[in-house]
Amino acid sequence: MVSLHRLPAGILFAFCTFLPLPAQQKSTNTLPPGGYLSADDILAHCGELAGKDGVTVRELARSAEDRPLLLLGFGERGGVGRQAVLVVADPDGTRPVASQVAWGLAQELAAGSSPLLEAATVYLVPVANPDASAHLLADGFAWRGAPVDEDHDARSDEDPPDDLDGDGLVLKMRIPDPAGDWLADPNDDRAMRRADPAHGDRPTSRLLDEGLDEDGDRAFNEDGPGGVRLEANWPHRWREHEPAAGPYPLSEPLNRALADFVLERPNIAVVLVFGAEDGLARPAEGVAEPGPDSTEPPKEDADLIRLLAERLYPEAKDGEQGPPRTKPRSAPHGSGGFADWARFQAGRLVLESALWSPPAGEGDEPTEADLLAWNDAAYGGAGFVSWRPFDHPQLGPVEIGGWKPLVRDNPPVERIPALTETWAGFLASLADDFARLEWSGIEVHDLGEGVCEARATLVNTGLLPTVTEMGRRTGRLPRIRIELQLPEGGVLLGGRDRLFAERLAGLGGHQEFRWLYRLPLGSGPARIHAESLTAGSVDAALEVE
């Protein structure tokens, strides 16, 4: 609940009017789309999976409001080269659909029937930002961490948005103002658009979040509760001095715990992020040289992401009509979040999905008109509160209305099972994709008296690389170790008995090696051994042809 904060004492205000009482805390599922499980319910259900065969439950950290950051492990077992997929749901705490789907996946994975678990471990963080998620579903407002003085007036959290009309929601205020930036769509009074002088638009209104100017600084809702946003607190493109970014990257314990978990496990090859940004509906082209502030991965990695995205949006592949490739509304912010960190600094293959979007009319992304039409069809218009007059104690007559908080980014609850199936299928499809090493092209020439010259090629026959191109650039992921094993008494004459390969791309990426050695009389052949934390190990005998 967005509470009305106590007004700072000793300040003269220019108003003294009726203020509504804060609305009561509501149950989790009355806001459209409705029927969603609360973050606390999901966490409780996940906790109950502990002790189930093949499932591990870790608590990585606890949130400011003492909720656990849970990480579930499925099919977790040792062995060099057993790779892992990490699924992280809703790191920004703004897309409840992500945690609904993640919980569905958790149930499927716990059943143990996914073919993926034969090939890999799956780690799953069902609620990556539990406090924000809990608040969002309860009252439509994503709470963000410890108090911060956003407006730099030596007070913190003193001017939050307010539910002025007591309907339990913080919506928008439409204020008549010829010096504003907005005007209503002549075809639909609900839809507001920015006035564009180039189109002869005459602005009629200002739009503000519903609320008061509690601190009398003529700004509305500019210093709301909390301030450090988990998704603005990651090291890649961290924006120092932005209040939401936190005092330093990974200052927030939940983030740091997740970062440490990933860094300790170089075998996490694929990271799937369900959140506010989408990189799959319209995948990036990639860049040749990603700089320190890059937003696009290297081309090699982008190509791979595009290949995988085709499985979700198959129409581009075979020309048939697939699911609409509408790019979901993303909530870009200047800093990089978890996904960018995992991609650019931890060096993993990162797939980001916002999971769902209302259908778009003609463009790539739904317009306001598309959204309103969809809302009318799907909810009978219930997702939008039509503008209604309100006598604002500071601004005079205004209108309050607008989109209910979750409705544009989260599907009706009936869609969750199908979405879950889609992603369960996608995860299962990864089973055959992991990097796999094979020795090929082994040639051994007997040069007489036990002296042999050998060549062998190490090939990655999987789809995924042994390490992403970005991971290679970070220089922080382990390389493939190659050893020549000579029988007792053998002598290496040329080449190296232990060396490293940096990266083998998927689909036939390879590197050739060559040795010259002498075998003792009557011994067996030399052997070669390749070993990678991300691609397993493979041996071969260097048999003379």
Binding site: D153, A154, G216, R218, P235, L250, D497
Partner: protein, 594 residues
């Protein structure tokens, strides 16, 4: 400083008391007897540094508080000294200076320099009025070693002058899946890591012996000399059999590249660590500093080269704001005067570019003026005179250093070349300078190095913001209205808010509050033109409570003006994070314009 409003009065009481203490000339002719005699001709292990701080606490009750702010990777307690006269107020309620040393484990002398600062001020509290003022009115947070593990390892394991820079968290430098598996090896068992060389006759080598001094090898490149020697690097073997020697020693990162401002990951900035403040040592220090906005100045001690360094660490940061540069320059140039052979320099421009350095973060992240001194400069060996000179800088430098060893040190800092069997290279020779030569001051010159650098800190601390309300007057405008003007003056070099802090909204702006019963404040704001009082920058809201984003400039004044209605008495209160709180009653103006 808002925490304890009562402090202003405490401070005033302390000052009054201090004024009646007779200043005895205890140092007459240099015959003084220190209360705590610390030998300043040697270096101390971390536990010894901590023990000296405990001795100081016990010797000067009421001045030294020791706080463990964290533990190093290997579990050494990071003990910070909060130094101030507690009778005039707690350290956390005073404007404070941060002083540390030794973030690089081998750069040990910063630890003693930090310790010396505390010791000298305490010893002179009763005899030196300026020392007394610093301890009565200011506080110091002193952390002698940012890197206790690296420090002790440098002393207690075979090392070179430059090794053990890192902390001790294991790190896989050569990316072979093993950590710290191929460090130096003390092949001759003498406790030192020398250089390895091998004689390869018939010109197969890269170096020749200096005819003036056969201990010196000079490169043949660019000469017509025959090279009969190979230089094979520092003493060690290929422990992990990967074909390289000493490529993955203990630790292997740089905690002075691990700070949040302009941090970049290890593939861009060597040694940066997995993420900012990923090490227990850096995290503990950052958390302390973030929790102590009363820190208004900072000094970090390194070695060597004789430098007084400030940021930025990268050209891309852009120049610091002119007002801050002026304050930096004034202190830096005085430092050059105090520290012969030291030069005041900008990191990226005059030394090398770095991402994620400590003093850079202290200024760019926290808005606090900060220097990093590189203690000890090689011209100090011979005082910059009577040195050999020659075209070949390398050769003359080596000869000078050997002169030093041979004459001033009676051969004490050089290991003569001697034969050793090496598993890969066969018969080689090992020799070279011991680790205490080159980067740390020789024992008999330590105290001078410490004193000059400690006094540079003291001068910096003296120039932390000192803001006073020099006048607060009211002029009757008739009709029940009054114009109130308060003039704030900062007599110190440093502003109460750096221009960088103001630009980036770091910390809390200074506050100037007008208080009075039965008085209505109609408008308030900064007054730029004292002759045109109507043209003042009226605050949008809360006119009784002015926010000074730029603070009070160094050696400058700020005028605040209010228009009030009502006849009650008025008080002006000034509150700042980095200056003492002040309060003054408003008096009737005897002339227009205040």
């Amino acid at each position: 400083m808002m925490r304890r409003p009562a402090r202003t009065t405490l401070l005033a009481a302390g000052l009054a008391a201090a004024c009646v203490v007779p200043v005895a000339a205890q140092e007459a002719g240099g015959t003084w007897q220190p209360k705590l005699e610390i030998p300043w001709n040697r270096y101390y292990r971390h536990a010894e540094l901590n023990a000296w701080m405990e001795r100081m606490r016990d010797t000067w009750p009421g001045f030294v508080e020791l706080r463990e702010i964290g533990r190093s990777y290997e579990g050494r307690p990071m003990v910070l000294m909060a130094l101030t006269n507690q009778a005039t107020g707690a350290a956390d309620d005073k404007v404070a200076m941060w002083v540390d040393g030794n973030v690089h484990g081998n750069e040990v002398q910063g630890g003693e320099a930090a310790l010396y600062l505390a010791w000298w001020l305490l010893e002179h509290y009763e005899t030196n009025e300026r020392a007394r003022k610093l301890l009565d009115e200011r506080a110091f947070y002193i952390l002698p070693s940012q890197n206790p593990d690296g420090r002790d390892h440098w002393f207690d394991a075979p090392n070179t002058a430059s090794s053990s820079r890192s902390g001790k968290r294991p790190y896989d430098n050569d990316r072979d899946g093993l950590v710290d598996e191929d460090g130096y090896d003390d092949l001759d068992g003498d406790g030192e890591i020398g250089m390895m060389r091998k004689r390869v006759p018939l010109g197969e080598g890269t170096h020749y012996q200096d005819p003036d001094d056969p201990r010196i090898l000079l490169p043949v490149r660019g000469t017509d000399k025959q090279g009969d020697w190979l230089l094979l690097g520092s003493e060690g073997i290929d422990n992990d059999g990967d074909g390289r020697i000493n490529e993955d020693g203990p630790g292997g990162y740089d905690m002075n590249r691990n700070w949040p401002s302009d941090w970049q990951p290890p593939h861009i900035q060597y040694g940066a660590g997995d993420y900012p403040l990923c090490f227990p040592e850096t995290r503990a220090i950052a958390d302390f500093l973030l929790a102590h906005p009363n820190v208004a100045a900072a000094q970090s001690f390194h070695n060597s080269g004789g430098m007084i360094l400030r940021g930025p660490g990268q050209e891309s940061i852009g120049p610091y704001p002119a007002a801050d540069v002026a304050a930096y320059d004034e202190l830096g140039e005085e430092g050059e005067l105090m520290l012969p052979f030291y030069r005041y320099m900008i990191l990226w421009q005059d030394l090398y570019p770095v991402h994620g350095g400590f003093v850079n973060w202290v200024y760019e992240g926290l808005g606090v003026f900060s220097f990093s001194n590189e203690l000890w400069a090689s011209p100090q060996y011979f005082g910059g005179t009577r040195e050999r000179t020659g075209e070949n800088w390398y050769a003359t430098n080596r000869r000078n250093q050997l002169d030093w060893n041979d004459s001033v040190m009676l051969g004490d800092v050089w290991i003569d070349w001697h034969e050793v069997e090496h598993p890969l290279y066969g018969t080689i020779e090992i020799g070279g300078f011991k680790r205490q030569h080159g980067r740390v001051a020789p024992s008999f010159m330590i105290e001078e190095m410490l004193h000059r650098n400690a006094m540079f800190c003291a001068r910096h601390a003296e120039e932390m913001p000192r803001v006073e309300i020099v006048s607060a007057t009211a002029e009757d405008l008739g009709g029940g209205l009054r114009r109130v003007v308060a003039v704030l003056e900062n007599k110190a070099v440093l502003p109460s808010r750096s221009a960088w802090a103001a630009r980036n909204h770091i910390g809390r702006p200074d506050l100037v509050v007008l208080e009075g019963d039965g008085v209505q404040v109609l408008a308030g704001g900064r007054l730029a033109d004292r002759f045109r009082p109507q043209r003042f920058a009226m605050a949008d809201s809360e006119p009784h409570r002015l926010l000074l984003e730029e603070g009070v400039p160094g050696r400058g004044r700020v005028r605040c003006q209010w228009i009030v209605r009502g006849g009650g008495t008025l008080r002006v209160r000034y509150q700042a994070e980095k200056a003492d709180d002040r309060s003054a009653e408003v008096t009737a103006a005897d002339q227009v314009g205040g």
